[in-house]
Symmetry: C2
Subunit: 421 residues, 2 copies
Amino acid sequence: MALVVQKYGGSSLESPERIRRVAERIVETKKQGNDVVVVCSAMGDTTDELLEMAEQVNPVPPAREMDMLLTAGERISNALVAMAIESFGAKAQSFTGSQAGVLTTERHGNARIVDVTPGRVRQALDNGKICLVAGFQGVNRETKDVTTLGRGGSDATAVAIAAALEADVCEIYSDVDGVYTADPRIVKNAKKLDTISFEEMLEMAAVGAKVLMLRSVEYARAFNVPLRVRSSYSTDIGTLVSGSVEDIPMEEAVLTGVAQDRSEAKITVQGIPDNPGEAAKVFRAVADAEINIDMVLQNISRLESNKTDITFTCPRADGPRAVQLLTAMKDANGWSSVLYDDQIGKVSLVGAGMKSHPGVTADFCEALRDTGVNIELISTSEIRISVLIRDTDVDTAVAALHERFQLGGDEEATVYAGTGR
Amino acid sequence: MALVVQKYGGSSLESPERIRRVAERIVETKKQGNDVVVVCSAMGDTTDELLEMAEQVNPVPPAREMDMLLTAGERISNALVAMAIESFGAKAQSFTGSQAGVLTTERHGNARIVDVTPGRVRQALDNGKICLVAGFQGVNRETKDVTTLGRGGSDATAVAIAAALEADVCEIYSDVDGVYTADPRIVKNAKKLDTISFEEMLEMAAVGAKVLMLRSVEYARAFNVPLRVRSSYSTDIGTLVSGSVEDIPMEEAVLTGVAQDRSEAKITVQGIPDNPGEAAKVFRAVADAEINIDMVLQNISRLESNKTDITFTCPRADGPRAVQLLTAMKDANGWSSVLYDDQIGKVSLVGAGMKSHPGVTADFCEALRDTGVNIELISTSEIRISVLIRDTDVDTAVAALHERFQLGGDEEATVYAGTGR
C-alpha cells in the first residue's frame, strides 16, 4: 500500500460537475489500496473574483486581511471535494492549512513553509479516511495568523505535505498531461516526456516551462519527493519528475526540451568606469529595490576609454522602475547612458545530455543562424543554454531548436529525444 | 469610552459598495471614542450559493464538511470589511470564530456556543484596533473542528462576544430600523418602538417577529446585554431591547405589538383514550423525531366515549413527517384518526400591559369577532395572547388588533402605545 498525495488545480475544480469527476478519480486511487491525501486549489476563477472585490473595497488592501480573504477559496473547494468523495461511498475529512499543521514564515501574501506537523492528517489516514488539505495556506508561528504562500502555493503545500508524510509520490494534476519537449502550442510534434530529473525540471521551470513552479521542484528535490505531472482530464500517466541528473548513465543522457519566456526586459548601463566595485553599484541598487535579475552580460572594456557596459534582464513589470533608479544614479557615477528594451524573448535548451555532447552549443547557434534569428546575449549552465533574442523571433527559434535537436515525437527522434528518461 | 459590538446582516454587505458604507459607519463609531467589535454575516446570497454547490456535488452532504464550506462566507465578508475600514484610515483586524475564542458544542450545522474566550480580540482592542469577528461559526471543544451555529447564528455570535467582553451595547444592523408594533407591510401606521423589555422581545420573537432570533434575545437577557436593533441604511437610533418587564412601573405598562406567523401546520389526533399517559405517547413520538411543538390543545373528553382529541402545531416543513409517524401509531393505540391542516396562521398580541389591564383578552376576541375572523385555538402567557386562525385571515386580524389596541403612530395612540418604553 502506497501513500499518494494528489494536487488539483483550479481549472480541474471549476464546476460542481468537474469536482465530482475529480472525486471519482480520488476514490478510485483509494480503492486501489492507497492512502490518499488531496490538496486543492480554489475553484476556477474564485481567487480572481475575490481579488476584484478586495480591489473595490480598498485599492491597497492590508496583506493580513488579503490572506484571510483568499484562503476562503481553498476552504470552499476542499469542502466540496470532501462532500463529493463521500457521495461515492468513501470517507473524507478536510483540513485547513492550520489544521494540517502547515507552519509558515510571518510574511503575508508570500509566506514560506517552515515546517509541516501533520499529526491530525496522519490520524485521519490511519482511520481509513481520504484527507483533503487546503492548498496555498498556512499559519504563521508568531501570531497564529493565516498566511498564503504566493504563486504556486498549492503545489508547494502538496510537496511539503508529501515530504512530511513521506509519501511515495506527489501527483500534480492540471489541464496539461505532462512535461513536454516544447510548448505544444508552438511546436506541433512536441513530445511528452515519460521522466525527467529534478535538475532538468528545475532548469525547465526556471526558463519558462509553466507546468511546475520552480519552488515546488526545489522543495521536492530537497526532500526527494517524486512528482508526477498529470492531467485531470485524461488517464495518461503523465511525466515523472525524480532522481538526480547524476544518476543518468552517460550514454543515455539526452536533451530534455526547449522553453521560452517573454516576461523579461533588457537594461543596459553604458560607459561604466572599469574599476573594481563599479558593477556592484548597479546590482546593489537593483537588489535593494527587490528586483530580480536573470541574465547578466558584462562586455570587456574598451581599451581607449577604460569603460565598460553592463546588460541584464529583469521582469518586465519591474523594468521601468529599474530604469528610473539607475538613471537617477547615472551622473553621480559617471555612466554615459541607461538603455531599456522590452521587446525581447528568451529561448532555452535544457538537458543532461549537454554534458556529454560537446557540440550542442555550436548546433544551437547554427540552428538559429540558419533560420535568421539574431542572438543578443547567451547564458549557460551545465545542463542549459539560454539566449536572448527579439520577441518576434521566439516561436521561430523554439521550432528551429526543437527540430534541430530532434526532440519531436516522430520515429527519427532518437539521438537527443527525451524518451526513456 | 464605551465598548460597542455591531452586527451586520448579509443584505447590509451584499456588494463592495455596501461594504464601504458599513465600514464608514464603523469608523465613525470608533471616531466617537468607542471601542468597536464587528460581527459580519456572509455577503448577500453567498450562503445560498454555497448551499447550491454543495447540493450539486452531494445531495446529502456530510455536516462537518458543510460547516467547513459555509464558514468561508463569513471569512470573506469579514476580511473585506476589515480592508474597507483600513481604507478609511482606521486599523482593523479580522478573526475567525476560532481565533476569537468562540467555543461550541460538537454538533455540526447547529452548534451552541458554550464559552467565549476573546483574549486575542481584547488585546487587539487595547492596541486601538477595530476587531472583526466572523459570525455564525465557532470551533468545537473535542475535535477542534469548525462548527456553525445554525439560523440566527451571527446574531448569537454578536451577543456572546458582547457578553464575554462586557460590552455596553450590542447593535444588530439589518434592513429594518427597529422593532415595530406590527409588520409595516400589513399595517400602514405601525409604529417603531423606542424600547422594549427582554421578556416582551422574547415573546415577539417567539410568535413570529423576524427582526431578532429568539436565541439571541435569550442569550442577551441571560447575560444582560442591551441590544439595539437598527438599520444600516439610516441613522435612525432604532429600538433598544433591555431591562426586565418587572422593572416597568405598573401605570406605564403598555402593549408592545402584534406579530403573525404563517410557518406552522396544525395536527389533530382524534379519539385518544382518556387515560394517564396516552397524550404523552403522541408528544414523545413527535419529540423523538426532533419535531418542535408550539401550541397544544387537549379537549375535555367526551363523557359518552371517554375519549379525547389532541391538537398541536408544528413547523409546516415537519408536518407531513409528523402525520406519517402518528398515522403509523394509530391502530396500535386505538386512536380514531389523524388530521392535518396547513392552511392556518397564528396571530399574537404581546405586552407587559396585559398584566395590569384585565380586559385585554376580551378586547382581543371581540376585535376578531367584529371583523369576522374565527378563532380555532387560543394560547396565552402572562404577557402574550396567541390565536390560531385561517391563514387567509391573518392580515385582517393583525390590522384589527393593531387598530383595536391603538398601537399605531397617530396622536390618539396613548393608552397601550409602545412609546416611551
